[in-house]
Structures are given as structure tokens and as C-alpha cells.
């Protein structure tokens, strides 16, 4: 274990958050000899602690601090205090994630150029491209052990996949397989092969799914260069008169306010907490919040165009058995405006247990229309839709000064409304998902509305021009040279793919850059 660093030690890099961005960055910096203090708001849980029971696990892992919502998305009505289903723990949402690990398609790095003007959308090209990211994706896939990359085999298909695959092929889809998953199809990197247990979202009790909680973080700590401080909630990032950040004020596990000095600060608290922290760090020099000269901090919140389709059959499926999301149709991921929208979407297998199915199939629903669906639970198959949504300036995270958290800090308000492109894409996907199941004989299908967000992106977006976004191509803020953002909030656009692999690839790349800048004496 690392020896603790002194609070006054300003040679350390402070990272806020230990998920796919912060957790990977912490290890990658530690491996390169950089001293790191990582502040994590949650506690530490290992596979033996994970609970294979949906609501109990939710109580153990979910981020349940107060948040508020607005906008016309249905989540604001049905789950008004829970805009996102993400994790508060060492390792962050890499405990909960499904493991789907897809590279962006090449054109998705250049959405503004590829799609052209879309009214009401704040589209922008990323300042990086597919060629630049390819080697970092290679490293990320090796780290995560992604199936169907390198020489790693795919996972076997479970019952839910076999129904999905048969329907997909009947419709003529050709890019259909059990996914590129950060879930071992054979033992890899000291982690077991998948035992088809289900409950991928509740933390993998076999450790077959990659999570920073039991890979990157303990490996970083083993170098002696990384100290993780659990149950420490960042309150604000401080700066000096020269406009450089000097460290982070945080509430420790006992609720006492502490200050950790830093050479540089990397914010990786996810797309709600990262902009919230920058906004809560406003000062007389930066009255609109840190790194916010563009006014873009908190804006362009994206959550992917999502939804689910469940189908009922006349015979059992038992979709909950086995890997939760090892199944994909990629044929609709292309950009093909003839479908009536720009961008594309993936269809991925998904199963919920009975308790979550009751909560999420049709939130607020009741009576026999609802219960006759659940009566057929054993005969259900399920899929999730994940597609590119349009960045909109008005979809944003702001501080709600009327509501304070347990530390007395203003909570984030999350405002979201669908763009017409999102609605058109979702309706297309609902129809295709229904067709997949009807091709296998479904007697009833359900176009299920989006759940609280699991993919939270874009609120500190990356831009070439400082006017258009918050950070540059390295995740370094345009305004403050020693302040970085290291999570999915840097996404310029969302692409159609599950974001974790890209967050990890960007974190490895950023670690290489920061370590280089330190060794060159620039940081």
C-alpha cells in the first residue's frame, strides 16, 4: 500500500473520482512514477461484497445523494430525484457497467462535418480522430480484455441472445454477435472466465468483468505512488492569484473539511459531479466557475438516445440467465440519413430481474395491461437501444441553490429534453426491435422508455477552439493549464457506442501526456 501523502505535499496530482476515467488515470500515472492522491466519495467494495439482489445492491452501490431534474424527459417525472443510475464507490460505475466495449466508428469523431447542420443541435467535431485514437484503443482493449479483440474469443450466447440472434438474422441483419465485452470468455489477467451468473449490473462476483475496483486501483496502490482516500467528497478546487489551481478542499470520512495541495488537479466525478465541482469552485477571479470562460461548463449534457424493447413469447426464455448484455446488432449503427435522422444506434441484449422489471417496464403503470406483461416474465426477451443523441446547449447541469446536500453544497439540477433527432431515432429503433422479436413469434412487445441515465456525457466538452468547449484534446482545461477533466464529461459528441472503452482509452492517453509534461518540466 502507498504511504499516505502529506496534505501539504504539492508535488502530487489530485484526481477526483476513481471510475473508468479517474481510476484508470490514477493507475496509469502511478505506473509512470507520478505521485497521486485520489479522492473517492464512496466506500470500497470487492467481489465478495457485491450483492446479487437488485434493490439491495442498488442500496449498496448507487449514488443516492440528492439531485433534482427538469425538462420534458420522462425520467424527470418518474424518477425525479434519480437522473442517473451510477455508482458511488471506489471503482465508480465500472462496478455496475455491462462491459460492452465498442470503439467509435471513424466518422463519429467528426459529427459536425459528417452530419452537417442540425437545427437546435450544438454539434462539433472532436479535436482528435480515429487514427490518433487507434493505439490508445488497442491499449484499452488489452487492459480490459475485450472479447473479439486481439486473440480473445467471443462469449457464448445465452437464451436471451439466441432469441435476439434468430430474429436479427430473419430480418437480414448481418452484424450480429455476442458483443465485444470486457467480460472474460477465458481466464485472463488474473481474472476468471464468465460463469453465466447474471447480475452483471450488481458487480461481478467472479471478477470476470473488468472493473477498476479490483484491477487498476489496487495495482496503482501496489506501486506506492497512489493513495486512495475513500468517503472523501470534493467541495471545491482552489487557485492562486496567477490563476493556477493549488489543490482541493474536500470533506473527509468524518465530515471534516480538509485541503490537499496539488501540482495538478484532474476532475473525474462523472458528467454531473465534474461540472458541479467546477461551478461550485467559483471565485472572484472566476465568477462563473472554474474553466468556464466559454460558458460551456455543464452544457451539452448527453445521455445517449436509449430505450428498451421487451418481447413476450409463448414459451420460456429465462432472459436473466447468463451475461446481461452479451449480444449486439450493429447494422443500424451506421450514419444513413435516409432513415430520417442523423447518426445511428446499436441494439444490445438486456435483462432485468423481476423487481427491476416491475419498476422500469412502464413506470407508473398499473392494472391488467401492466400485470399481464409481468405474468409472462419467464417468457420475455429483452434488448436495449443505445444511439447517438444530439448535444444541445440547453440540456445542462446547473447548481440548484435552493437544495443543499449533506455538506451544505448546492446540488446539481439535471435538465434534459429530447431533440427531434433523438425522438425519430428512438421510434425507428422501437420498430426494428419489435420486428426482431416478431420474427421469432413474439405475441406482444413493449417499447419501454429510457431508464435513469447510465451514460452521462458532454458537460465539459472537448474542443479545438476555447470558445466552443471546456477542455482541449488532452482533457486540459482551456483556461487553467494545471486543471484537467478525465471522465465522460469531455465527450464532444456521444457516438452510438457504450462510452466506457473510449473513456478508458482517453484516460490512458491523458496519463501519458500528463506524465510527459511533468518530466518535461511543464507541469
Amino acid at each position: 500500500m502507498a504511504a499516505p501523502f502529506e496534505l501539504t505535499d504539492d508535488s502530487v496530482v489530485v484526481i477526483i473520482g476513481t471510475g473508468a476515467g479517474g481510476g484508470v488515470l490514477a493507475n496509469e500515472l502511478a505506473q509512470r512514477g507520478v505521485s497521486v492522491v485520489a479522492l473517492e466519495a464512496g466506500g470500497r467494495y470487492f467481489p465478495e461484497d457485491y450483492i446479487n439482489d437488485e434493490w439491495e445492491s442498488f442500496g449498496q452501490l448507487a449514488w443516492l445523494d440528492t439531485r433534482t431534474t427538469s425538462g420534458d424527459w420522462r425520467v424527470a417525472k418518474d424518477f425525479s430525484g434519480l437522473p442517473a443510475w451510477i455508482v458511488k464507490a471506489v471503482g465508480g460505475t465500472t462496478i455496475h457497467w455491462a462491459g460492452a466495449s465498442l470503439r467509435f466508428q471513424d466518422h463519429e469523431w467528426k459529427a459536425a462535418t459528417t452530419y452537417g447542420p442540425v437545427q437546435g443541435a450544438n454539434l462539433l467535431d472532436w479535436p482528435i480522430d480515429a487514427a490518433e485514437m487507434a493505439p490508445w484503443y488497442d491499449l484499452a482493449e488489452t487492459k480490459l480484455g475485450v472479447t473479439r479483440t486481439g486473440d480473445r474469443a467471443g462469449l457464448p450466447g445465452n437464451n436471451n441472445y439466441l432469441v435476439f440472434e434468430k430474429g436479427a438474422k430473419a430480418l437480414g441483419y448481418t452484424e450480429v454477435h455476442t458483443g465485444r465485452m470486457a467480460i472474460n470468455s477465458a481466464d485472463y489477467d488474473d481474472r476468471l472466465a464468465c460463469q453465466q451468473t447474471g447480475f452483471c449490473f450488481q458487480g461481478c462476483k467472479w471478477g470476470a468483468k473488468w472493473s477498476a475496483a479490483y484491477t487498476d486501483i489496487p495495482r496503482g496502490e501496489a506501486t506506492g505512488n497512489l493513495e486512495v482516500r475513500e468517503r472523501c467528497h470534493a467541495a471545491s478546487v482552489l487557485h492562486n492569484d496567477a490563476g493556477k489551481v493549488t489543490g482541493v478542499e474536500y470533506f473527509d470520512a468524518e465530515g471534516n473539511l480538509q485541503f490537499q495541495a496539488a501540482r495538478a488537479v484532474c476532475v473525474a466525478g462523472n458528467s454531473f459531479e465534474s461540472p458541479r465541482l467546477l461551478l461550485n469552485s467559483a471565485s472572484s477571479m472566476f465568477p462563473d466557475g472554474l474553466a468556464n470562460s466559454s460558458g460551456q461548463v455543464g452544457r451539452n449534457y448527453m445521455r445517449h438516445m436509449t430505450g428498451s424493447v421487451y418481447g413476450v413469447f409463448d414459451k420460456p426464455v429465462r432472459m436473466w440467465r447468463g451475461t446481461t448484455m452479451a449480444g449486439i446488432i450493429q447494422d443500424e449503427a451506421r450514419h444513413d440519413p435516409s432513415r430520417g435522422f442523423v447518426g445511428g444506434y446499436e441494439l444490445e441484449t438486456l435483462a432485468l430481474g423481476l423487481p427491476f422489471m416491475a419498476a422500469f417496464l412502464d413506470p407508473g403503470g398499473w392494472g391488467r395491461e401492466f400485470t399481464t406483461a409481468l405474468d409472462m416474465y419467464e417468457n420475455m426477451a429483452g434488448m436495449w437501444i443505445v444511439g447517438e443523441d444530439m448535444p444541445q446547449e440547453t440540456n445542462r447541469v446547473t447548481l440548484n441553490h435552493d437544495v443543499k446536500d449533506q455538506y451544505g453544497l448546492p446540488v446539481p439540477n439535471v435538465h434534459f429534453s429530447d431533440h427531434p433527432n433523438d425522438v425519430a431515432m428512438r421510434n425507428h429503433a422501437y420498430a426494428r426491435g419489435k420486428a426482431v422479436y416478431e420474427a421469432v413469434g413474439a405475441t406482444r412487445t413493449f417499447p419501454t422508455p429510457p431508464y435513469p441515465s447510465t451514460h452521462n456525457l458532454g458537460t465539459n466538452r472537448m474542443s479545438e477552439n476555447p470558445r466552443d468547449g471546456v477542455v482541449n484534446k488532452w482533457g486540459q482545461t482551456h483556461d487553467i493549464a494545471n486543471l484537467f477533466v478525465s471522465d465522460g464529461s469531455v465527450f464532444t459528441t456521444g457516438a452510438a457506442e457504450n462510452p466506457t472503452l473510449t473513456i478508458v482509452a482517453l484516460a490512458i492517453r491523458q496519463a501519458d501526456h500528463i506524465a510527459g509534461e511533468i518530466s518535461r518540466g511543464n507541469l
Binding site: 446479487n52 460463469q195 451468473t197 462476483k205 440467465r321 447468463g322 407508473g364 416474465y377
Partner: protein, 174 residues
């Protein structure tokens, strides 16, 4: 579940000899409510037994599953028999009965057809009382481990080594 007595602790004759019918599905006595099939009985300390019987019927009418015995609904709403909740529940059920009376019935439990009871519920769907009861049932009913097998749901499998050798891909009708 402790307040729910298992089938067989009371005979149907004993039950009926000490009670009054509350609708067709329930019998009530001083401080208790039971299924008229004597399959279960529940003590009530803070609610009127008739109120609890109506609440259980309301729960079944909100989430009707014909293969799920009423005792699971009783368990789901048992928590409303509490000092700090009783007044609101009594008022809510009184409103339910008043709405039934407005449609020419003696009360909610006196309506023999589910569709008539559902009509009453639709009329109060937006009330805080209805939404509290409905929202509570989502976990109160469907998160009972004992109810899962009735839907075929198997719960955790880690303790049995997952499904890798137990049918994760055993579908045979495709």
C-alpha cells in the same frame, strides 16, 4: 411475515365463528383480518380491520396477478398499519369507499366486479394516496423473494455456480 399466520393455525369454522365478512375475500375480527379461505391472518394494531381488508383488495386491484395468493398482497401493505401512517390510510380508504358509494355501491369491497373497482381507482389515480400505495407496491409486492418463483424468476445463482452448467443457453424451441 411474522404477523401472517400460516395456513392451518385456524380452521375455517373457527375463523367464521369469530368474525364478520368483509367483501367476499376477507373476514375481519377485533384486531385482525384474514383471508376467507383461512389461508392467512394478520393482526392490525393501528388501522381498522375493515380498512386493512379494503387496502389489501386495493393492492390486488392495482397489480392483479391471479396466480399470486392474497397473502402476498397483505404482506406488501402490512407496513401501513403504523401509528404515523394510519390516519392518512384511513382517510384514503374512506375516500375510496365514498367514491364507490357515489357509484351506488355500499363500499369498495361491496363491488363484485373488478372493472367497477378499477373505475373507482382510475378516478383517484392522481391522488397522493393512490400514488403512495401504488409506488410502495412496486417494491412491497415484487421484491418479496417468496413471490419470485410464482413468476418463474430464480433470483441469485452465484451460490450455485451461475448457469454455465445449468441452462444459460438451454432454449429448445427456436
Amino acid at each position: 411475515m411474522t404477523a401472517l399466520k400460516a395456513r392451518g393455525t385456524m380452521t375455517r369454522r373457527e375463523l367464521l365463528s369469530r368474525s364478520a365478512a368483509a367483501g367476499a375475500a376477507f373476514v375481519v375480527g377485533t384486531g385482525w383480518v384474514a383471508g376467507s379461505n383461512a389461508a392467512w391472518a394478520m393482526e392490525v394494531a393501528h388501522l381498522k380491520p375493515e380498512t386493512m381488508a379494503t387496502l389489501i383488495q386495493m393492492a390486488r386491484d392495482i397489480y392483479p396477478h391471479d396466480h399470486v395468493p392474497t397473502e402476498f398482497y397483505a404482506v406488501a401493505v402490512k407496513g401501513y398499519d403504523a401509528e404515523d401512517k394510519a390516519a392518512a390510510v384511513e382517510a384514503g380508504i374512506a375516500a375510496l369507499d365514498a367514491a364507490a358509494q357515489g357509484k351506488g355501491h355500499a363500499g369498495y369491497l361491496a363491488m363484485g366486479w373488478e372493472r367497477d373497482r378499477v373505475d373507482v381507482l382510475r378516478g383517484m389515480e392522481d391522488s397522493a394516496f393512490f400514488q403512495t400505495i401504488r409506488g410502495g407496491l412496486v417494491t412491497g409486492l415484487y421484491n418479496q423473494k417468496a413471490v419470485w418463483p410464482l413468476f418463474g424468476y430464480e433470483g441469485e445463482s452465484f451460490s450455485q455456480g451461475g448457469y454455465i452448467d445449468r441452462g444459460f443457453n438451454d432454449i429448445n424451441w427456436l
